[in-house]
């Protein structure tokens, strides 16, 4: 029922759905038109049913005319003592969405905030993104797509509580009011907890009147995470902490080259390790074959793995190598690639040859590991006719569909219990469901021995660093012509980067004319520049994935450092220069407001900087939010010195300023990491060279700059903030350092020497 409904849903909602999946928004205009085309054809729809099927079965049958995502009973429970639990339809990886959605719901519910707590839903129909039709945490979409949904859920429940009280007291509902978890009227009062059971029997209102934002008491106020105490006292459980009765723990020995296969194995020593239950060959991602060591706990499993003697078969497996990759990418960038779709990328380049001034630049960005603090973990309880999975997944609907396929179970028999994540940054949103399917295969292999137990597969840090699914290694080549006033007359640009989405269920939505939208997002927009953009997508034997802010991790750096160079070469102030490239439309206005706020708060152009310190400016829109950074930085003893950092953000209406601040600060630090020495994944002869935090280092407290975050006031519908803070930080820093050294930085991590 729901499935048919979803598949026959109108183009508009599916359009919004797919637009929501887009982990980027810079090319929205062209993307929307593309989406309509692809949804109109079979290709667009063909992908969705598998996911829809896995998510389609719902806990509560939808009422006529209403969707599962609109059912209060699936989201809100109120205990007799008034304790109110609000279920989150996302995975929380530190962005605080479980608190933000609860705030939104509690506001319209008029709940007593002190009695509200939070929990997670599963992958099924109630908990899908109402716009996307799938449970996905990514693309900075959660607030954007669930703001109205959670307000309505709260308002519907409030109306049902009032209706129940009216019935109980034999009064007209209009004579009653609700506030702070209590319904009152006619001299009577009842707490929500006393009314909730009766309220659930009331019909769900088709439409509700939402509050005037001026009367908000919770939304928009700086609010602590509901799980702050749990996280400070160690009682918060994460995916890696799951423990089920009789559960075993497994580690997997994976081939050192992606796609390698097990040739021969001597497991005798491993099987002698106390606590080791089984050593089994297991099918892995990309056709690889490895070994699972299943034991009573992590340490015996690890000791068992260390004791295995084996040989790998790499026949027919391509061995990626950074030296060769760089040469290959450089060669590719000499020729035009696939034309990027969209009129903004099809400029006439005839003015380039005779331009008064020219700038030619190459940029190189490495593979990057997400390095979330909690290594990947997935617990699978596989039974003959059911499969329960416990993991912190950003796409449990996709994963459930893949599990159903891998196990031969029906989608209804798969249930994913979404867990709190110790960081994610995109690594837990895997279109191939790689680590979830691996854990499923381990459970299958164990079941094939005639035994059954829930098995938790735990990745070591080394496993996690070496597993692939990196931000793609990317090369940009720009040839720019401009006049003596700094006006750009022609910009010829090429990007060489593996496609993240080709071959994935998202290809139909986000790859157009062979060009992956996640490669080009963030190019050119919103500046009025005559640009010709083409893309090469080489096929390399290294799995790649979206990584916090995706394409904008490199496109923002390229755009914002090149524009800054041209401004400087033309004796233009970098702020004035950018302002001059922005249109007078709504989008341009949003950018101007953002940059202006950073200018005012930083004292840019007014404050005298210490000797050797320089201003660095950059701005970028991603996921429909605009962020500007103004950084004070210089170089001392060959190393960057960072002074005050000012960030400004336009995310429309801000739901929780307390967490928005941390998202911007955290994004900036993640961006700072990308500039720091050795923060790169490299391959030699097919083998990843890094393994842990000593050779893939991360910023420490001593690296943390003081970052002031300022939010542009707005009452427009809220947008996301999980990613947009990342892209503009590194170019702002690079621009300051270029002023200090006179040399542009065009490689990540930075090489200042």
């Amino acid at each position: 029922m729901f499935i048919e409904k979803m598949l026959s849903s109108n183009i508009q909602s599916l359009d919004a759905a797919i637009d929501g999946i887009a982990l980027g928004s810079a090319a929205n205009a062209s993307r929307r038109s593309f989406i309509k085309m692809s949804v109109g054809g079979a290709a667009g729809i063909a992908i969705v049913p598998g996911v829809a099927l896995a998510q389609g079965s719902t806990a509560a049958a939808p009422k006529p005319g209403q969707k599962p995502t609109e059912q209060p009973a699936a989201f809100i429970t109120i205990a007799k003592d008034g304790t109110t639990t609000i279920l989150c339809n996302r995975m929380d990886m530190g962005q605080g969405i479980e608190t933000a959605l609860a705030m939104i719901c509690a506001e319209e519910l008029d709940a007593d905030w002190s009695k509200v707590n939070t929990a997670f839903g599963n992958q099924r129909g109630n908990y899908v993104d109402p716009a996307m039709g799938m449970h996905l945490t990514g693309g900075s979409n959660s607030i954007k797509n669930s703001y109205t949904q959670y307000r309505e859920l709260g308002a519907r429940t409030r109306a049902m509580l009032i209706a129940a009280a009216a019935k109980e007291w034999k009064l007209d509902a209009t004579a009653l009011t609700a506030a702070n978890g209590v319904v009152s009227g006619g001299g009577k009062r009842l707490g929500y907890g006393q009314l909730f059971d009766a309220a659930l029997k009331e019909s769900v209102p088709e439409s509700v009147v939402l509050k005037d934002p001026k009367s908000f008491k919770i939304i928009g106020k700086p609010t602590s995470l509901k799980v702050s105490k749990e996280k400070a006292t160690g009682s918060q459980k994460y995916g890696i902490d799951v423990k089920l009765p009789g559960m075993l723990t497994a580690v997997v020995l994976r081939p050192p080259v992606f796609g390698g296969k097990l040739k021969s194995m001597d497991a005798s020593a491993a099987l002698k390790v106390k606590g080791v239950r089984a050593v089994l060959p297991v099918d892995l991602d990309r056709g690889a074959k490895g070994v699972a060591v299943i034991a009573d706990g992590y340490w015996p499993a690890k000791l068992g793995r260390d004791a295995i003697k084996l040989e790998w078969d790499n026949a027919g497996v391509a061995k990626a190598d950074n030296t060769a990759l760089l040469a290959q990418y450089r060669e590719l960038a000499k020729t035009a690639g696939l034309q990027a779709p969209g009129d903004q990328y099809k400029a006439d380049l005839s003015a380039l040859a005779n331009a008064p001034k020219k700038l030619s630049a190459e940029f190189v960005f490495p593979y990057l590991n997400h390095a979330q603090m909690e290594p990947l973990a997935c617990t699978v309880d596989l039974k003959a006719n059911a499969c329960s999975v416990y993991t912190a997944s950003q796409m449990p609907g996709v994963d459930a569909a893949a599990i159903a396929k891998a196990t031969g179970l029906s989608p209804d028999q798969v249930n994913i219990h979404v867990q709190m994540a110790g960081g994610g940054f995109g690594r837990r949103a895997v279109p191939t469901s790689e680590y979830v399917i691996e854990a499923t295969n381990v459970a299958k292999a164990y079941a094939a021995t005639g035994k059954r137990a829930p098995i938790k597969v735990v990745h070591s840090r080394e496993d996690d660093v070496k597993a692939g699914y990196y931000r793609p290694f990317t090369l940009h080549r720009a040839e720019i012509g401009y006049d003596n006033e700094g006006k750009i007359v022609a910009w010829d640009h090429k990007i060489v980067s593996q496609s993240i989405l080709k071959g994935s269920p998202f290809e139909a939505f986000l790859v157009k004319a062979g060009v992956d939208g996640t490669t080009t997002e963030g190019m050119r927009e919103p500046y009025s520049i005559p640009m010709q953009l083409s893309v090469h997508h080489p096929q390399i034997n290294v799995p790649v994935l979206w990584w916090r802010s995706v394409g904008s991790t490199h496109t923002a750096f390229v755009m914002e450092t090149l524009l800054d160079e041209i401004a400087a070469a033309s004796n233009k102030d970098p702020v004035t220069y950018r302002m001059g490239l922005l249109a007078d439309d709504a989008r341009g206005k949003r950018h101007k407001e953002t940059l202006q706020l950073a200018v005012e708060k930083s004292g840019y152009g007014k404050k005298q900087l210490a000797s050797g310190m320089h201003w660095g400016v950059a701005m970028h829109e991603s996921f429909e939010s605009v962020v500007a950074f103004i950084v004070e930085a210089g170089v001392k003893d060959g190393k960057p010195v960072i002074g005050a950092v000012t960030a400004s953000l336009h995310c429309n209406f801000c739901v929780n300023p307390r967490t928005v601040e941390t998202q911007i600060q955290g994004s900036a630090l993640m961006a700072l990491a990308t500039t720091q020495e050795n923060h790169a994944i490299t391959l030699k002869d097919g083998v990843v060279q890094q393994s842990n935090f000593h050779d893939f280092p991360m910023p420490r407290i001593t690296d943390m700059p003081n970052i002031a975050v300022h939010i542009v006031p707005s009452n427009d519908p809220p947008k996301g903030v999980g990613e947009p803070g990342l892209p503009p930080f590194a170019p702002a820093l690079a621009n300051a350092l270029r002023r200090a050294t006179g040399k542009p930085l065009r490689e990540m991590p930075f090489k200042l020497a």
């Binding site: 929380d92 530190g94 962005q95 605080g96 799980v227 702050s228 105490k229 996280k231 400070a232 006292t233 160690g234 009682s235 918060q236 459980k237 994460y238 890696i240 902490d241 423990k243 723990t249 106390k274 606590g275 009573d296 706990g297 992590y298 340490w299 015996p300 000791l303 390095a371 979330q372 603090m373 909690e374 290594p375 709190m420 994540a421 110790g422 960081g423 994610g424 940054f425 735990v458 840090r461 080394e462 307390r658 967490t659 941390t662 955290g666 994004s667 900036a668 630090l669 993640m670 842990n692 935090f693 000593h694 991360m698 910023p699 420490r700 407290i701 001593t702 943390m704 003081n706 970052i707």
Partner: protein
């Protein structure tokens, strides 16, 4: 069987003596508040106290803690300073994903036990071994200062 004290209570673990204290706590004693992240004493997520000193439990075999007193995130609130640090962590909204925060709290508590009113440089030195990928360091500093004020 290796015996030691955890949060003031006797504990015994029947495991290979090379087993890191981290895994004895997590798998044998069902205390998952102490976190695994690097396994090489590089990130501090697994920090516990051994006779009051901060150690990396991922790289400390249980053979080395026989007869010793271990304090973990689950028990650090029994100490006035540990409680003050946890309270400051909540008030200052330090955690984002929170995965590293058990270790951060244990390192901060050890710092304040040694140095009642740490300077910025002392905070940096004491906390530099604790990685946070979410970038909570600004609030880590603020919370340590708040806890220092609370215990003064």
């Amino acid at each position: 069987m290796i015996r030691f004290q955890v949060n003031g209570k006797p504990a015994s673990v029947d495991a290979d003596p090379s087993t890191p204290l981290l895994w004895a706590l997590r798998d044998n004693l069902d205390m998952t508040g102490t976190k695994f992240s690097c396994g090489m004493a590089l990130c501090g997520a697994c920090t516990v106290h051994l006779d009051g000193q901060p150690i990396r439990s991922c790289s400390t075999p249980i053979s080395a803690v026989a007869g010793k007193n271990i304090t973990t995130i689950e028990g650090v609130n029994a100490d006035r300073i540990g409680k003050a640090v946890q309270d400051a962590w909540v008030v200052n909204d330090v955690a984002q994903c929170g995965y590293c925060q058990s270790g951060q709290v244990m390192s901060a508590t050890a710092l304040l036990k040694r140095t009642k009113k740490p300077t910025d440089a002392e905070i940096d030195a004491a906390m530099a071994g604790n990685l946070c990928r979410c970038g909570t360091y600004t609030r880590v500093r603020a919370a340590i200062k708040a806890a220092a004020t609370a215990i003064a």
